[in-house]
Symmetry: C3
């Protein structure tokens, strides 16, 4: 029985990169369904790719995750395959996989993909999605190779972590940042409802929000419908994090937020 493969990358849709990897997967794992999680991660942005994977993984069918955001291609960074209770994760050793692997309970085994028989030989050294990661994912998905056949075991402690900024509560204010602006202009922060509870903030109240150097008064609501069209709001978004949105509009434009903008919320007096 073949496992489904969920594929995320920064390859974009300008070229045939995604299609060629699909060709490799269809050749080596002809029975596996392939799900394109996203290929629009900003070029080389490991953190954005890791966050997208973390938001997605609980909705993907258990099987194999193939993730390639790999600014270190052509250097000596390792190619990894990790086994978890949920399934397998394949990608570069740069932190891309770490939060998603942690989210599903951590790895029970990690190997460095070095076995030449698990690779597609190539003149060049730059398309590891096609030559190394894709074949490894397909071999695991089809059952043609056990994880131990891909290469030697790697001590978990040697794997690159991903350092994510955490929201902090200090003197009654929670300070964090916007870490994802979505297609609709909503700004997800790294602040959770628990962080706000710590400073006495509750849903249904008005919150003082500092974005960059400006202050805003925003209602913390459950649904967009609780404010008028064009009005800003705070809510717990579909990932369970506090997000800024504008009903029928774009929060990124109205509030001047980009990924990384500092956002703080002042606690109840």
């Amino acid at each position: 029985m073949s496992l489904p493969i969920s594929f995320l990358s920064d390859f974009g849709h300008d070229d045939e990169f995604v299609g060629v990897v699909h060709g490799v997967l269809a050749t080596l794992a002809p029975e596996s369904r392939v799900i394109d999680v996203s290929h629009s991660v900003a070029r080389g942005d490991v953190r954005a790719g890791a966050l997208a994977l973390t938001r997605s993984v609980q909705y993907l069918p258990p099987g194999v995750v193939l993730a390639v955001v790999d600014p270190g291609v052509g250097t000596d960074r390792r190619a990894l395959a990790a086994e978890t209770e949920w399934g397998y994760f394949v990608g570069p050793d740069n932190g891309l996989l770490s939060p998603a692997v942690a989210m599903v309970g951590g790895a029970t085994r990690i190997v460095s993909i070095e076995n030449e028989e698990a690779r597609i030989p190539s003149a060049g050294e730059t398309f590891h999605g096609r030559d190394i990661f894709g074949p490894a994912a397909a071999l695991l998905a089809s059952g043609e190779a056990a994880i131990g056949e891909l290469g030697p075991d790697v001590p978990p402690g040697s794997v690159s972590p991903l350092l994510l900024p955490l929201a902090e509560a200090h003197e009654g204010t929670v300070t964090g940042e916007a870490w994802w602006i979505d297609h609709f202009g909503n700004a997800q922060t790294n602040i959770g409802p628990d962080d706000l509870a710590q400073v006495g903030l509750r849903p249904g109240t008005t919150v003082t929000v500092k974005i960059g150097s400006r202050l805003h008064q925003l209602s913390w609501v459950v649904s967009y419908g609780e404010v008028e069209a064009g009005q800003g709001l705070l809510h717990v978004d579909s990932s369970g994090l506090i997000a800024l949105a504008v009903r029928g509009g774009r929060a990124d434009e109205d509030f001047g937020i980009v990924e990384g903008t500092a956002v703080s919320m002042v606690g109840a007096p």
Copy 2:
């Protein structure tokens, strides 16, 4: 036997929204093929989504249509599932589904998706494609739920229609508008060949076309090859509607047309 699912949305390809819904479909309907009709409908443009679906539906394999263009997410608009002779349609109650449902012969039953067991529980209230529409489509496609298990019946008369502007013949002139500019710059109008026949216009003749405030003389041809490269033309396009095109060029740029531009055609004297 699992039904295929045809999926249209305004989610774009910037984010993992489409991929996450694919994950939900693959989890709940692992045997169903999923066809991405388009995810590039302009954000919240219900009419553009409805038109794209109407142009497509006759070419899709009978099964389930999942359509999400939903500016009213987070308000009290209903989530609907409709049964037709062709198959099922799942989407918001905002007119998005109405023309396509009408095109396949109308609905024999419509329900409001309210059963909590048919939803994926979520912290937030904004990603109904993932939490409500996707699961409902998957349950219908896999046969895990009958339509009546999704929620209570809805009187057909209470469902939101979509008001589409119709072309009108008046004093020998047909007046309409451009309602789709495609990837190649072709401008599809809401004028059909029957409308032109009413004012005495026939294929193979030259037609006086008013676009905005300017007049043009265009040949009504069957194929691009009948005019020189760079020349404008009228023809019946692949949807059976009158479109303006430029052989080897872009009609939108050459004629200054955007979606909604008024277009009229003067009848034969």
Copy 3:
């Protein structure tokens, strides 16, 4: 047993064109897997489409290639289906298929798709991907039609070739051009390592490269990791051709290269 279909076009993702062809394929070849090679070929750019197909074909599962980059739609250019040892190729007679067909060993039979029973009847004459090429690919993939049932045989010598500029060695210098700028800004040339060997250049040396009117000294390396971040380099890329790249940057921007820019490399003294 149904064959997989690999689909390349210039339809883009703005519209439902790709989705509608998928609908036709799913209807006529319900058991065939469909791989989207790329749909971002520049509008009407037959050469770019042919190059993308040539780079991809060895990684696609043997079956059917469906390729539609067709600026001559609506003229009398023929619609072709070619049989090869690898599988089938379906597309317009404009050179799009020729290099990929040659790469897999050439065609054993070519027909002109003219049989009305193999087409979907349509009001318009512009969407041959949906009405002619897609159905032919699906019929071949599903085994519903043999190639001879699609239309009359065509003499191979009458098929449009694709004229590709070749690199030339002259007086110790190899002259070529950039023929693909990829998503990451890498510039693939039409110069191969064999061309450079002819003028005495070897990997591991520094090469004088003329781009437009400017001279650069670039290391010919195996991996990006051999130069510092931000530095330019030459290497054999994943297609086996000489490419210009910048470690952690974009060669197109740093060197002012677009597709078609002249690139020459001066041989060893």
